[in-house]
Symmetry: C2
DNA sequence: TCAGCGCCTTGGATCGATCAAGGTTCGTCG
DNA sequence: CGACGAACCTTGATCGATCCAAGGCGCTGA
């Protein structure tokens, strides 16, 4: 940062470094981008000059010439108020860290308009980003098909549920494996009447998670009929659903599609003075902060978001390399964070 | 997006639009940036051409020429695992939305190295961002002084606690007003033995929040001695502190410096079978998801983060305008989200 | 001696927008 | 009638890095 002390307010350019090191511009450029082309002593001389001047290539100039921004667009979807779902926080952090190591920065945006692809379109047209990470695939994912038709590089966090023909790169977490893990955990604890509270039938992710529960139950020849409920993803719905199930099916344990619903269950159990964790077990999904700090702790399925980020960035690097390498989908397995709510 | 259907893969440039509209490049540039300079009919003609071609200015070229990136750097600090503090999520969303309306995007980064200013330095030297929003001021804020000496435009979310001489722009939330609000709320409910659980003495923010509690208590001539505890910001510490206070001071209410500590209090109350919200009131700070979904709900001080974002962006626009306008600090007042934990 | 290679230089063009200065066109007014 | 200036538009240069092609120089090996 030598130059910051100088009078001149403009940062040093490649030409400045070249003059200082007594080499040509081209050589400095090579020192930065293809050091293997230089003789070790020349390289060292140039690097010294770079360090002395505190030179760093001007992003705008480089971007203009190379037609790349080294930025990855990510739409920031905040957590809903009143829910426990806050995966975005951990996920974004992981993505920022991982992409930073590969020389990419994350550009956040939000769509203020109704158009689901408007913001994507703007960024693409302005060549402001090299690629996107698309996260809101639970909606049925119009972005993915649009981006594909637009030939824009992107990787999705989430499978293309609604379109098995889709060929784009994606990374996802095996929700069914997670709920199956949760259910088996409860079965091992001796439970057999294990209820499910999940999302409405039109949610692909919800049905996937539900299937893990049914799979685990049927594997031990246990019935699932009458033990399931599908509701909105709110605490209140979870509470109501649990209340009904407690009356009608008398389950000794609950597996839920989200921590939000699980909190609803805890609520319902509290209403009737049932001591959760001892009398009735509860497992949530997402290992949210809520699961972590609620007194006693809520057992919850934890998505390996750090690993997801790594795979996403790996896939992006493939897409952005020349020639582009399109990897297949990657499915990761979640773990179970066991706490007192499951006994 | 007309061009996306064409064979050519390169987006249209200003020159393409100029040719189509039968005007010069400069005129197109003016149509985009200073429409008032054009005659209405020419403007319309150019705008038609822009729409027909689906033109959008190339960011890199514009950035190079104007020496501005229209990007604002923000270091992403994820929530600590096992705490309830998740203000970042809501904050980031607000910032993204607000800055988007002013034509700015948010560039996220993280510092992987030990150097607290390394990442800032890199971005500045590469002229990758126009300005920064600095959030982690609770550390004593070496970034602020460094950025100031570097003459880099930035706005801090958080007062310059350790350096009252600092002249940079900042926006903050009046923590003392928040805890005062909370305490008065409890006083109005009839409580008089109200305990405080806060952070260690070296935390500026912690001491500020604490002062709101003492102020409100003293205003009603109530004692505070023996009713306060200063601990680490973890659930376990909150629980221990509450246990000790319950034994030694028999408070009927608790005001906490964070929702994390408040959860610890709920935990302690649960340990001894005390029905919180009925027998003992509890108020947290930050209105986290945890506060919102814990059965019954935790009353909590809510920071006006949306408003904070608006003020931050307003300040940034001032700094980035020519000539730069440096506004004074802005202090916003939080509100109280009342739930059952306070009766 | 000369071809070949490794390393570097030279000079230029290029990316696409904006800046600064220079040209039109037109109406107005002495 | 011609000068003048405002309103409007055009032209050439510029931002800084990269890409490209051609060539220089010293050294090695045939």
């Amino acid at each position: 940062m030598a130059w910051s002390g100088r009078l001149s307010l403009t940062p040093p350019t490649l030409a400045d470094v070249a003059e200082r090191a007594g080499v040509s511009r081209q050589t400095v450029s090579n020192a930065v981008n293809s050091p293997e082309l230089l003789r070790p002593d020349t390289l060292a001389r140039v690097q010294d000059a770079i360090a002395e001047l505190g030179y760093s290539p001007n992003r705008a100039a480089r971007n203009l010439r190379t037609r790349a921004s080294h930025l990855i667009g990510l739409k920031f979807n905040p957590a809903q108020e009143g829910t426990a779902n806050a995966a975005m926080d951990r996920f974004v952090h992981s993505v920022v860290e991982t992409s930073g190591e590969s020389g990419y920065h994350i550009l956040l945006f939000s769509d203020t308009t109704d158009d689901p692809v408007g913001a994507y379109d703007d960024l693409l047209r302005a060549t402001a980003v090299d690629a996107f990470i698309v996260t809101d695939t639970y909606l049925g994912n119009p972005q993915a098909t649009w981006l594909t038709s637009r030939r824009a590089p992107f990787v999705a966090f989430g499978r293309p549920w609604d379109n098995p023909e889709a060929t784009h790169a994606w990374v996802d977490v095996d929700g069914a494996a997670g709920t199956s893990l949760a259910t088996e955990h409860l079965l091992d604890k001796g439970h057999s009447r294990i209820a499910w509270i999940g999302w409405r039938k039109d949610s692909f992710i919800g049905e996937d998670r539900r299937s893990g529960w049914t799979r685990a139950m049927h594997a031990r020849d246990l019935p699932t009929t009458g033990l399931a409920s599908r509701v909105e993803d709110t605490v209140a719905s979870g509470r109501e659903a649990a209340t009904v199930l407690l009356d009608e099916a008398r389950p000794t344990a609950f597996v839920c599609a989200s921590d939000t619903l699980a909190m609803g269950v805890l609520h319902a159990l509290g209403d009737r003075g049932i001591h959760w964790g001892r009398d009735v077990a509860v497992v949530g999904f997402d290992d949210s902060q809520v699961a972590q700090v609620v007194p006693g702790g809520l057992t919850s399925v934890r998505q390996p978001l750090e690993q997801v980020a790594v795979e996403l960035v790996k896939a992006l690097e493939g897409l952005l390399s020349t020639p582009p390498v399109a990897g297949p989908g990657v499915l990761l397995t979640p773990t179970l964070a066991v706490r007192l709510s499951s006994g």
